[in-house]
């Protein structure tokens, strides 16, 4: 039987990838456009990148976004990991079902509602809106994602490994940091990266909860696009895509190399046994 690619397969793969990546390719290509007009190609240039680095408004927004994303992802990872541990480890305690339901609820809650309710809370508390309110809002919604990711790792965690550490004289807290945490670290890092990405591209919740002087990059881009897409925006987006792609590729390369090393070592062990 002919196992080579048929024209149909080739066509559907091409169409699929085009559908997914053509918009991005166009965005990247036009970020190097000489012309100010987004739809007309006038030759290669990096001038929009230069302009970008002179646009103080965009740079400020980028800096706010990175700070919010970094701090909120970190705090959310700590809180989310703690929540996951309680949910998996504490056994049956009164209110467990309610608690785990409440952890999952924000995952399916429309962002508009989360944003609005947080806004109402901050207003009611008379909390000055700005960097801190965006930060708190991002921690609130991203910790649930971390909790879910870490929880799925803990379900398959072999507790006898922790028991072995206790048995050898290691107190519980130290056991957590020396045994449990290193073992669930990949899940915790995934959780952190997820929280970081979610915060990085959140528009809705940030719009609700922000205040003067705390405009995030998505907000800035969105408001500028309403005045017309400029190649500068394309340049920002290209840089963002670059950062995300590098991160994803690096992570998958590291995982793949570890996997290969492990398989090689296992073959060795079997051969020597």
């Amino acid at each position: 039987m002919n196992r080579g690619p048929t024209w149909f397969n080739v066509a559907s793969v091409t169409a699929g990838f085009a559908f997914l990546y053509l918009p991005i390719v166009i965005l990247v290509v036009y970020s190097f456009n000489e012309s100010r007009l987004v739809t007309v190609w006038a030759g290669f240039s990096t001038k929009w990148y230069v302009a970008l680095f002179q646009n103080q408004g965009l740079l400020d927004a980028a800096w706010v976004t990175v700070r919010v994303a970094f701090v909120s992802a970190t705090v959310a990872t700590v809180l989310g990991t703690m929540a996951a541990i309680v949910l998996i480890r504490a056994g049956r305690f009164p209110g467990r079902t309610l608690f785990s339901g409440m952890i999952y609820a924000p995952l399916v809650m429309p962002e508009v509602i989360t944003g609005l309710s947080l806004l109402l809370l901050f207003v009611a508390m008379n909390f000055a809106r700005g960097f801190w309110t965006v930060l708190i809002a991002h921690i609130t919604f991203s910790m649930c994602f971390v909790a879910v990711v870490v929880q799925s790792r803990l379900v398959t965690f072999d507790r006898s490994v922790e028991e072995a550490a206790l048995d050898l004289g290691c107190p519980p807290l130290k056991t957590f940091f020396q045994i449990t945490l290193p073992m669930i670290l990949p899940a915790v890092i995934s959780g952190w990266m997820l929280a970081f990405t979610l915060s990085l591209d959140d528009l809705v919740i940030a719009s609700f909860t922000t205040g003067p002087g705390a405009t995030t990059l998505p907000m800035k881009i969105y408001s500028q696009v309403r005045l017309g897409v400029t190649p500068e925006i394309n340049a920002v987006c290209t840089i963002l895509i670059g950062i995300v792609t590098t991160g994803v590729v690096a992570a998958s390369l590291i995982t793949k190399r570890q996997e290969m090393e492990r398989q090689r070592a296992e073959r060795l062990a079997v051969a020597e046994a």
């Binding site: 006898s160 206790l166 048995d167 004289g169 070592a265 046994a273």
Partner: protein
């Protein structure tokens, strides 16, 4: 290893359990463990003595691991108490108990090398670094994993992992070492060597071992005493020899070694002899002091190697036909079919070559056993 002193030589007189003034080191005092409605350990009482090598033997799910986990501190008894060195340990957390456990699942730390796994417990004790290194090297040598020190657990074979787990639990030289099937994944030769190493360590360092095993031969080899468990209770606790020669029930008799069980009823008990009437083999006599009302159903348990093939007429004579012969090299086991259809096994040492074997299939033969070679069991 050829000139090894038999470990039992120095242990001939070690029998604190029969000394009423000896203080037990580990005491299970009417301990019960329930998981919901399920009773995993049922009202168990046991004394284990310092420097004892104690084995737990029993079918899967009978509560062996649960018993060890209670001693290590990972399960709390539902009822009863556990004493260690005279002290109730129920409130002491696992990391403060002078007890180390080797887990049935090995429970190695996957992110640490073999050497770090072994050193982990020593580091908790803040042992100086050179000493740790020395001890780790000792342990690696003991389990023959010197060249694997830098490997991670997932880079080891099953048997190698088991040896790391063993080395890690031994490294701290705890007063009490609990081993949950420590040698199950090893091949016969390595297992036997490690058994002797374990006995040496236990002897030389004066440790108390409680070991779970599925291998009754292993239990016989290493133990001072054995407990046979079933459904959360001890059926019998005895020395290997006692357990082999005087099992207290058919369950134990069957569990330890091979045995013939002949059902009958007690005809008379007098002068230290029990006479039984059996359907399979007629009237049989066993020398055993016993009080029982005639007519009580009872069982005669006799090991195949204590059966002799005879030609003349004798007491305890069992006539039958050779039904099957299992040739094991050093021994042959004759399966003899009695007129009632029951099968009795007799093993004979093969003192001559196979070709000259006098007994063959379908021969009519008579077996006998000495009246003091068998036991009568009521249960």
């Amino acid at each position: 290893m050829a000139d090894r002193q038999p470990a039992s030589a120095s242990r001939k007189t070690f029998a604190p359990w029969s000394d009423p003034s000896a203080e037990p080191f580990i005491v299970f005092d009417n301990v019960t463990k329930r998981f919901g409605d399920f009773v995993a350990v049922n009202n168990v009482s046991l004394n284990v003595y310092e420097r004892e090598f104690f084995s737990l033997l029993g079918p899967s799910g009978c509560g062996k691991t649960t018993l060890l986990r209670m001693l290590a501190g990972f399960e709390t008894p539902t009822e009863g108490r556990i004493l260690l060195d005279g002290q109730d340990i129920s409130t002491i957390p696992p990391y403060r108990r002078p007890v180390n456990m080797m887990f049935q699942s090995y429970a190695l730390f996957p992110h640490m090398s073999v050497a770090d796994n072994i050193a982990f417990g020593l580091k908790q004790d803040k042992m100086p670094k050179p000493e740790i290194e020395e001890r780790v090297a000792d342990m690696l040598r003991l389990v023959k994993l010197e060249q694997f020190a830098g490997r991670k657990p997932h880079q080891l074979s099953g048997g190698q992992r088991q040896r790391v787990a063993l080395a890690r639990s031994l490294a701290k030289r705890p007063k009490v070492l609990l081993l949950d099937e420590p040698l199950g994944a090893l091949d016969k030769k390595l297992r036997e060597e490690t058994q002797f190493e374990l006995m040496d360590i236990q002897e030389n360092l004066g440790l108390t071992f409680m070991i779970v095993t599925h291998d009754q031969e292993e239990a016989m080899t290493v133990s001072d005493r054995i407990a046979v468990m079933d459904h959360g209770v001890f059926v019998q606790v005895a020395t290997p020899a006692e357990m082999y020669e005087y099992p207290n029930s058919r369950y134990v008799a069957d569990f330890i070694g091979d045995i013939n069980i002949i059902k009958g009823t007690i005809k008379s008990t007098a002068n230290g002899a029990v006479t039984l009437e059996t359907e399979d083999a007629g009237t049989l006599v066993v020398h055993q002091a016993m009080d029982a009302i005639p007519g009580t159903p009872a069982y005669i348990a006799i090991r195949p190697e204590k059966m002799q093939v005879i030609s003349g007429v004798s007491q305890n004579q069992i006539d039958g036909e050779v039904w099957d012969i299992a040739y094991l090299g050093d021994l042959s086991i004759y399966h003899v079919k009695l007129p009632s259809g029951a099968i009795v096994k007799a093993s004979q040492t093969n003192v001559t070559r196979l070709i000259e074997r006098p007994i063959t299939w379908e021969d009519d033969i008579s077996l006998t056993f000495a009246p003091d070679a068998a036991v009568v069991l009521l249960d």
